[in-house]
Amino acid sequence: MSIFKDKQYLRVNVDKVPDESLWMKCKACGELIFKRRVRENNNICPNCGEYFFLTVEERIEMLVDEDNFDNISKSIEADDPLEFVDRKSYQERVEQAQGVTGLPDAIVVGRTKINEVAVILGVMDFRFIGGSMGSVMGEQICHGMETAIADKCPFILVSSSGGARLQEGLFSLLQMAKTTAVRAKLADVGLPFISIMTYPTSGGVQASIASLGDIIIAERGAMIGFAGRRVIQHTIAQELPSNYQTDTFAFEHGAIDRVVKRDHMREELSTLLSFFAEVA
């Protein structure tokens, strides 16, 4: 199934050679496992329970009603306002990420249903330049929320991001303010925003839109925090507790509402949405 059946034009060229092997090795337990079994198991290692990254498609498939996803993402992609070049040009990095993921940028937004309840769902893809938030992601998140307002339905955002996209400089930083401003509009009209934090939800995404959910749910194994371990150790050379920035850490310190296993997430959302049936 392709979740993008309705708007094929959003796809960019995928030139990556498909991986033909049937088996993979789990990096956590070392076991050789049958790929299909992993995929059927929501990308969780059937041997040790390790979570592997989900592609946007896999994440969406896992969460929404079958064959029910209308990709409403705006037909946009990253511009290069700073003409940024580090070891590679930003342009190249974007094209490469588009090639790997088959996505225009690190997020897809769609109109969908979860257990028959209409919602607008945004899902980030960490493989696209670390799921970083640049102008495109900021715009798509706002577009998602605005569609939720128009549709009078809840907005759900699944974050998987290292933070702001460095290559767009201040444009990226300001997406924090932009998404926040639109989030306020969603609140004004009394529509729920459910934020799901997965591995990782950090930096500028964690310090803006992802932390502003009416309800915040972390996927088990999520990494949640503002400053990365390396930044902290570099800046203040502090010893970090072993559970630092884990789901448990965030939960114990009151930053999130719940921690939910990946294979329970759909059910969790369904339950949660049922409370808002009257308002949305």
Partner: protein
């Protein structure tokens, strides 16, 4: 080309000559005048060709005026308000009442310390959650009484320590952004030194954003960018240039409203002149904002932020059919998340 330190030495020498001139009755006036002229020329040359990285160094220069220096000269009767009413009082982020031209404003400012001792207390201007929450409290107080809010940005970033994460620094920054985006009173923000990432933006959502000429404002420090993107520490200069973090660049990109000129050599070279320029700008913008009806102001603020972004239509030539078979399987567990 001469660098700033050399010019500072020359300036000191000229001062010594002047002393000599006065004390010993030797007349060096014309020589001194020539030297002073030369100094100005050299400075002009230097600053006309300043690299962005050199600009960063000026922005971080410990001689540079800090928030309280401006607050105490531009405003009258700064009355500091302390505490977030929850866990603590952050000395890196100050809040208070003050008057500007006889009208009350609320100030929210990041304050670096000058001495090691002071920085122990001020965390080098890096605010913790209690700082941002105190800021939110002060801004809500401003809203209640219709006082405009003026924020001074000068921070390497939010304090990245365990205690910050324990008190949900990300959530505190997000709350501050949300508060400012809805605050029913005019907001002016001015970047006076370092505008460091989310920790800076947290008090920077405003109706008008000002920057001093040698201030910088960036999504990440040049050092951080060099480490993450170039994977080489000595690429900070390149990173600084690539990030477009100077006032001039950001003004050209339309991301800030105005650049306040600084004297040659930086704000500290002629503090009074800097103060005068900044004050005139603040007063001007404030008068402008006060004339706008609140609903219109909020509408404009919303539109300002809603429209920020640089992207383009997906190129038609790049669009091709997509089939499931070619989709990557995403089966690799990731070892670690990036830092920023």
């Amino acid at each position: 080309m001469s660098d700033e330190r050399t010019l500072d030495l020359l300036e000191a020498k000229i001062e010594e000559l002047k002393q000599l001139n006065v004390m010993d009755g030797i007349d060096l006036s014309s020589e001194i005048a020539k030297l002073e002229k030369k100094l100005v020329e050299l400075r002009r040359e230097l600053y006309a060709n300043l690299s962005d990285w050199e600009r960063v160094k000026i922005a971080r220069n410990p001689k540079r005026p800090y928030a309280l220096d401006y607050i105490q000269t531009i405003f009258t009767g700064f009355y500091e308000l302390h505490g977030d009413r929850m866990i603590g009082d952050d000395r890196a982020l100050l809040t208070g009442l003050a008057q500007l031209n006889g009208q009350t404003v609320v100030i929210v400012a990041q304050q670096k310390g000058r001495s090691t001792e002071e920085n122990k207390e001020r965390f080098f201007g890096m605010a913790r959650p209690q700082g941002y929450r105190k800021g939110v409290r002060a801004m809500k107080l401003a809203e209640r009484f219709g006082f405009p809010v003026i924020t001074f940005i000068d921070t390497p970033g939010a304090y990245p320590g365990v205690e910050s994460e324990e008190a949900n620094i990300g959530g505190a920054i997000a709350e501050s952004l949300l508060t400012m985006s809805q605050l029913r009173t005019p907001i002016l923000s001015v970047v006076i030194g370092e505008g460091g990432s989310g920790g800076a933006l947290a008090i920077g959502v405003a109706d008008r954003v000002l920057m001093l000429e040698n201030a910088v404002y960036s999504v990440i420090t040049p050092e951080g960018a060099a480490a993450i993107l170039w994977k080489e520490k000595d690429k900070t200069k390149e990173a600084a240039a690539a990030l477009n973090l100077t006032a001039e660049h950001l003004s050209e990109l339309g991301l800030i409203d105005t650049v306040i000129p600084e004297p040659l050599g930086g704000a500290h070279k002629d503090f009074d002149q800097t103060v005068e320029a900044l004050k005139a700008s603040l007063v001007g913008f404030l008068n402008e904002l006060r004339k706008i009806k609140l609903d219109k102001l909020l509408d404009a603020r919303f539109k300002r932020y809603r429209s920020i972004g640089s992207y383009r239509e997906l190129g038609v030539s790049e669009q091709e059919a997509y089939s499931e078979e070619t989709a990557p399987s995403g089966d690799a567990p990731v070892e670690e998340a990036p830092d920023e």
